[in-house]
């Protein structure tokens, strides 16, 4: 009997927090962008993050992935401090190698795809697993083809990004992030650069991923997606969390004036 079998129930296991943010601040010089963000996301849950432009949503995602270093507060992913090592009550900056290891557990999808233009779709997907994780190339290619199939692009393995539509590029980017077998996926406005008729195909892939139990934080303006798929909705403004809760309730009855003002513009 393994430890997992002895756990009381699947729901109890799922309720463990994957991301915990405690009073996270981020300053760029004198400019304070995050002014104490506190929230948590449980394993297997989808959180949608909305808010006006410049409110710090992208910055917060980048902090979770340690692409930016936080200035104050604490940020944990799967119980592990992000970017620092704690000994006693002193924090020590993490060695780049350890930071890279942490990032491998977190997949990130960008608004502008950021596929590697000199590699084919399949090469984009296998590059990191082969290099970082020292996986065998054949195994990685097999997994890569499998992922391309999952995002509905098995016929585009040998196409270069410039030869793909925006929606197809973003689906390759999602497959690329999944190839690292992350515990957590971060999406930064994954559909904002797409033509309206291409948005659906990307959201479908994300929805399938959520159904499989992937923990996801999604910055988006797609309120329909938030309502249907998200377990929680967080409204951020000016570097703080203004309102958080069940997406249906927040969208139907926002309690804060700032939330109401924002939603009236995007809905």
């Amino acid at each position: 009997m393994t430890l997992r079998d002895s756990l009381p129930s699947a729901t109890a296991q799922a309720a463990s927090p994957m991301v915990v943010s405690e009073g996270v601040h981020k300053r760029f010089g004198a400019l304070e962008v995050l002014k104490g963000v506190t929230l948590s996301v449980n394993a297997g849950e989808v959180m949608c993050l909305v808010g006006p432009s410049g409110s710090g949503k992208s910055t917060f995602l980048r902090c979770i992935n340690h692409l930016e270093q936080i200035s104050a507060g604490r940020l944990y992913v799967d119980g592990e401090l992000v970017g620092y090592r704690q000994r006693g009550d002193r924090l020590f900056e993490m060695h780049p190698k350890d930071a890279a290891r942490q990032r491998r557990q977190i997949g990130m999808v960008f608004q502008r795809f950021n596929l590697f233009p000199h590699m084919t779709a399949l090469e984009n997907i296998v590059a990191a697993p082969v290099k970082d994780q020292g996986r065998r190339r054949e195994a990685a290619i097999e997994q890569g083809r499998d992922l391309l199939k999952q995002v509905g692009l098995s016929d585009k393995a040998d196409a270069y990004p410039a030869q793909l539509s925006g929606g197809q590029q973003q689906r390759v980017a999602i497959a690329r992030a999944l190839a690292m077998e992350p515990k957590l996926m971060l999406f930064d406005e994954p559909t904002s650069a797409l033509d309206p008729e291409l948005v659906g195909e990307v959201l479908d892939v994300m929805r399938a991923l959520a159904d499989k139990g992937m923990t996801m934080i999604v910055v988006t303006h797609e309120m329909g997606f938030a309502r249907e798929v998200a377990d929680s909705l967080v409204f951020m403004d000016d570097g703080v969390v203004v309102e958080a809760g069940n997406p249906r309730e927040v969208l139907a009855n926002p309690t804060h004036a700032r939330t109401r003002a924002f939603l009236s513009k995007v809905l």
Binding site: R104, F116, A128, D158, Y160
Partner: protein, 309 residues
């Protein structure tokens, strides 16, 4: 009005009469005629002494000097590229000291004539008679007497040309790296790649597209700059040998033609190499797929369609 119904036309491949370009044809004819006149004049002008040209073109003294020129070019270029990449990376590093050293190096070596630098390298063994490395008044780790290099003008030429070249290469590489979108480095980092992996796997291959054409230029320019090594003074290269032999033949013109032929020959080979390099690093840069790639894509599409049915 065509007698055929419009829906007949739909799937037929288009077979249109190509547009004529009378202006282009006329200008091409004029240029070809002028070229013919020039070639005729050159062939019949006795100053060119084509018989001497033929006798010396494959002369062993000339071909050996040509090989030496090629070696000077390649070795100096290797130093130039390696040191240039290093200088470019230093220039882009967050470390202020490294940045300044790189800037100062480029400032000096780009700002002084290569001829002057070569004269300086020729004198270096009289300026520094020994090289000592050690703790002052303490133990000595390294002691080299430069007199052993004094006769080795070939290597002084390589070093002189290489260091000068590295200053230019540094700027070319830096421009190439800066041309790559920041999001590329970020995406690589987010995938857990280290700085080294991100640079070698993602950033440099894309920078190559920008780096290679001017580097090809530099290489060809280097081939010809080697003729300045007489400043060291090194006299075994192609141009120096051709000049020496001209004294023997009492006519510099055919020997200049011989040297030019060899320079052109090497340049042509280098240009072929550059073509293949550009094609290699240009992959994915354009929407247009290669014919081989279109075949694999079409095959994959067919396979997929069958699988759906």
């Amino acid at each position: 009005m065509s007698s055929r119904a419009p829906n007949d036309v739909g799937s037929l491949p288009i077979d249109a009469v190509p547009l004529r370009h009378p202006g282009r044809t006329a200008s091409a004819l004029v240029i070809v005629a002028l070229l013919g006149l020039f070639l005729y004049g050159a062939a019949t002008n006795s100053a060119y002494e084509w018989s001497t040209y033929a006798a010396y073109l494959l002369d062993e003294r000339i071909s050996r000097a040509a090989v030496i020129t090629l070696m000077l070019t390649v070795l100096a270029m290797v130093i130039g590229v390696v040191l240039g990449v290093l200088l470019a990376v230093m220039r882009l590093s967050p470390n202020r000291v490294l940045r300044s050293v790189s800037w100062g190096f480029v400032w000096f070596f780009r700002g002084t004539p290569v001829y002057v630098q070569l004269v300086f390298w020729g004198l270096i063994t009289t300026i520094y008679r020994t090289v000592d490395l050690g703790v002052p008044f303490g133990p000595q780790f390294l002691h080299i007497s430069t007199s052993s290099f004094a006769e080795n003008f070939f290597w002084l030429a390589v070093i002189g040309l290489g260091l000068n070249e590295s200053a230019y290469m540094a700027e070319i590489v830096r421009a190439g790296i800066s041309s790559v979108d920041e999001g590329q480095y970020e995406a690589a980092t987010a995938l857990g790649m280290s700085w080294r992996e991100a640079t070698t796997l993602v950033v440099l291959p894309q920078a190559m597209r920008v780096i290679i054409p001017p580097t090809g230029n530099e290489l060809i320019s280097m081939l010809k700059t080697t003729s300045l090594v007489t400043a060291i003074p090194y006299t075994q290269d192609l141009y120096s040998r051709a000049r020496d032999l001209a004294v023997e033949t009492f006519n510099p013109v055919p020997m200049l033609l011989v040297a030019s032929t060899w320079y052109l020959f090497f340049t042509s080979i280098l240009m072929v190499g550059q073509f293949y390099l550009e094609r290699h690093f240009g992959r994915g840069a354009s929407r247009a797929a290669s014919s081989k790639q279109l075949k694999t894509l079409a095959a994959a599409q067919l396979r997929d369609d069958k699988a759906v049915r």
